[in-house]
């Protein structure tokens, strides 16, 4: 698939305009009311602000919204209940300027959403959406993509990857057939491939920048974690944890959800799926009152292990893309790179 093309900043903007004109939804990093950047749907190309930092929350909400209806019910005469299926979200959309770590998270989630039972709302959005990522230059010291087998220029999850080549232009690498279709649909916006050396230099510098401050690789820590389920580490790490769900809310791969019924009127209502988080006691409590994850250390352990032990064992890949958002968002100052470095030190000492 790997072929490439070139696109200028103005043509990228033009591409967004073309898409909007064709009634394709365009989303990407844009300024919120308080000036910070978040992923949002853009009404005009000028709203997109590329490479302006890490958007506050990840890209996952375009595929797994914070709340979505699963179906509605209506009780009729004689106690008859009619279920009204929620229409599958199939509006075509293009994300422009996704961070590669966010795109990678979406692909990682395909596994859990698709094993055995297929989560149709997720895959309907996946199929309707083309992801154009922008290679990252490395953002700050909480970045750790290189510790989880990725890189600031990873193509995982992206359909098209843009790499800056100077002069406001990007080398666009076609990653998937969907990416190729986008290029083919708007040929006027793309030029013959160029800037291979510049792109390579950008990518190399970005990898080195992230690797310089990232913790050791998470993969080799698994045997130690398996052997030390009960370890004082979790108590220490969780002291400052408030048990809020900020980390999960901003995470590109935290996908746990709740299912609730909400009556609308007498006899009608909607069953919805909402974001949820393993960081609250309610998450795992049984009807009997018994709670297998009864304190914050157990819940912090669950979050870390789900990302670097449970998911890899189950689905063969990490459930962390190293985006660093959990560290940035934590009101208690917890830091995943620090926790991983600590585990690596313990594991190194144990060998």
């Amino acid at each position: 698939m790997m072929n490439a093309t070139t696109i200028s900043s103005s043509d990228l903007s033009g591409l967004a305009a073309d898409l909007l004109a064709a009634r394709v939804r365009v989303a990407g990093p844009a300024r919120a009311s308080d000036g910070t950047v978040e992923y949002r749907h853009a009404g005009a190309p000028a709203e997109l602000v590329l490479d302006s930092g890490v958007p506050r929350r990840s890209l996952k909400e375009f595929f797994l919204p914070p709340t979505e209806p699963l179906f509605a019910w209506r009780t009729g005469a004689g106690g008859r209940v009619e279920l009204l299926e929620a229409p599958l979200p199939a509006d075509p959309a293009v994300v422009i300027g996704a961070r590669p770590c966010d795109a990678a998270g979406i692909e990682a989630l395909d596994k859990v959403m698709g094993w055995d039972y297929r989560d149709e709302p997720w895959f309907a959005r996946r199929e309707a959406t083309t992801i154009v990522s922008l290679a990252c230059a490395g953002f700050d010291r909480s970045c750790m993509c290189t510790s989880v087998g990725l890189a600031p220029d990873t193509t995982k999850g992206s359909d098209l990857l843009l790499v800056p080549i100077g002069g406001g232009a990007f080398r666009a690498e076609v990653v998937t057939a969907k990416g190729a279709r986008l290029v083919a649909a708007y040929p006027a916006r793309f030029r013959p491939a160029s800037g291979e050396a510049e792109a390579e230099a950008f990518r190399k510098a970005a990898r080195e920048k992230v690797a310089a401050s990232a913790p050791p690789a998470a993969d080799p820590l698994r045997p130690w974690l398996d052997a030390h389920f009960d370890h004082p580490l979790w108590r220490e790490a969780s002291l400052r944890c408030h048990g809020c769900g900020a980390c999960a809310a901003v995470c590109p791969t935290c996908h746990c959800f709740d299912i609730v019924d909400e009556p609308e009127t007498v006899g009608t209502g909607v069953r919805r799926r909402n974001w949820d988080t393993c960081q609250t006691p309610r998450f795992t409590i049984h009807a009997s009152g018994h709670n297998p994850k009864n304190d914050q250390p157990a819940r912090i352990r669950q979050r870390v292990l789900h990302k670097i032990v449970i998911y890899p064992k189950k689905f063969g890949e990490m459930l962390c893309t190293g985006c660093g958002r959990c560290s940035r968002a934590c009101p208690g100052g917890m830091d995943l790179p620090e926790v991983l470095a600590r585990i690596a030190a313990l594991a190194g000492g144990a060998q």
């Binding site: 009311s33 909400e61 969780s238 002291l239 400052r240 809310a249 609730v260």
Partner: protein, 290 residues
């Protein structure tokens, strides 16, 4: 800083406290610290980056913190007001905690960015705080500080919202609250949100819809505003913690001004002064009761 560290070491050495909860340098600026020995006490810091309110760590539900033993907590004046609230509402016994007051001239609006405190960089809530040190503390450290004269942008924004038509105000809050995902960070970091089972978590009956849609978010933030009326100490943690950048301080500030206006009350650091929500007087204003 030396004074704080020496005091912390003394408290630990003499057994007056088993853990000193303060701040330390972390990977992204300062963060809460739990010093149980002299070495950790020597890492404690206090400066204008110490925005975190540490009072929530006294919450009885934080069993893993309680296990460390009798705590000493470093408190800014706003944090002391929070501890006073917990004492007033019988969540904490005054004699069960050692309070180390720090003299405070305000904290930075962006603690992570660091820098020096100035009329430009000071957090908005500190512009309207008139407390430089607390009388509730067992010990007070630091040098006396003068307040910075800086106009409150938040008060200006509240005034703008007040001047709006109800429809405009509705549109403004609909837009802001649409970003809420109900992660509960605002509740979890709030020192006064200590309920064992939050009303928003109750299902029988379900008072508040848990879905982060317009209806659910509006009811949640209204519930929170009302439950904190006259209790909120303006520590700013809810707004700092919100991963979606919702200006929750505008709500708490507005409610505080209503409480001050109608009940002549402002939450202080004296646990003996009751809060309006916990008392009844025959001359309480009632014109807002429908």
């Amino acid at each position: 800083m030396t004074e704080l560290r020496e005091l912390a070491k003394k408290l630990l050495a003499e057994g007056a406290a088993k853990v000193v909860i303060g701040w330390e340098e972390g990977p992204r600026g300062v963060r809460p610290a739990f010093a149980t020995d002299a070495a950790a006490a020597d890492r404690l810091v206090f400066d204008a980056r110490c925005a975190h309110d540490l009072a929530p760590y006294l919450d009885r539900r934080r069993v893993h913190v309680a296990k460390l033993g009798r705590p000493a907590v470093v408190v800014k004046p706003c944090d002391a007001r929070a501890v006073a609230g917990l004492i007033r509402e019988t969540q904490v016994k005054r004699e069960d905690v050692v309070l180390v007051g720090v003299r405070c001239g305000g904290v930075l609006a962006d603690p992570e960015a660091g820098g020096t405190l100035s009329a430009d960089t000071i957090a908005d809530r500190c512009r309207t705080c008139d407390s430089r040190e607390t009388a509730l503390a067992d010990h007070v450290v630091g040098t006396p500080v003068e307040p910075l004269a800086a106009p409150s942008r938040r008060d200006a924004r509240v005034a703008e919202l007040d001047a709006m038509t109800p429809a405009q105000r509705w549109a403004f809050w609909q837009g802001e609250l649409a970003r809420c995902t109900r992660c509960n960070a605002c509740r979890q970091v709030c020192p006064l949100c200590y309920c064992d089972r939050c009303m928003a978590d109750k299902t029988q009956p379900q008072w508040i819809e848990s879905s982060p849609h317009g209806r659910g978010n509006l009811s949640w933030h209204l519930l929170r505003a009302i439950h904190l009326a006259g209790r909120c100490v303006d520590c700013g943690e809810c707004e700092r913690a919100c991963p979606s950048g919702i200006p929750l301080g505008l709500i708490t500030r507005k409610v505080a001004s209503v409480v001050a206006d109608r009940f002549g009350h402002k939450p202080g650091d004296d646990p003996a002064v009751p809060s309006p929500i916990g008392t009844w007087r025959s001359d309480d204003p009632q014109e807002f009761i429908l």
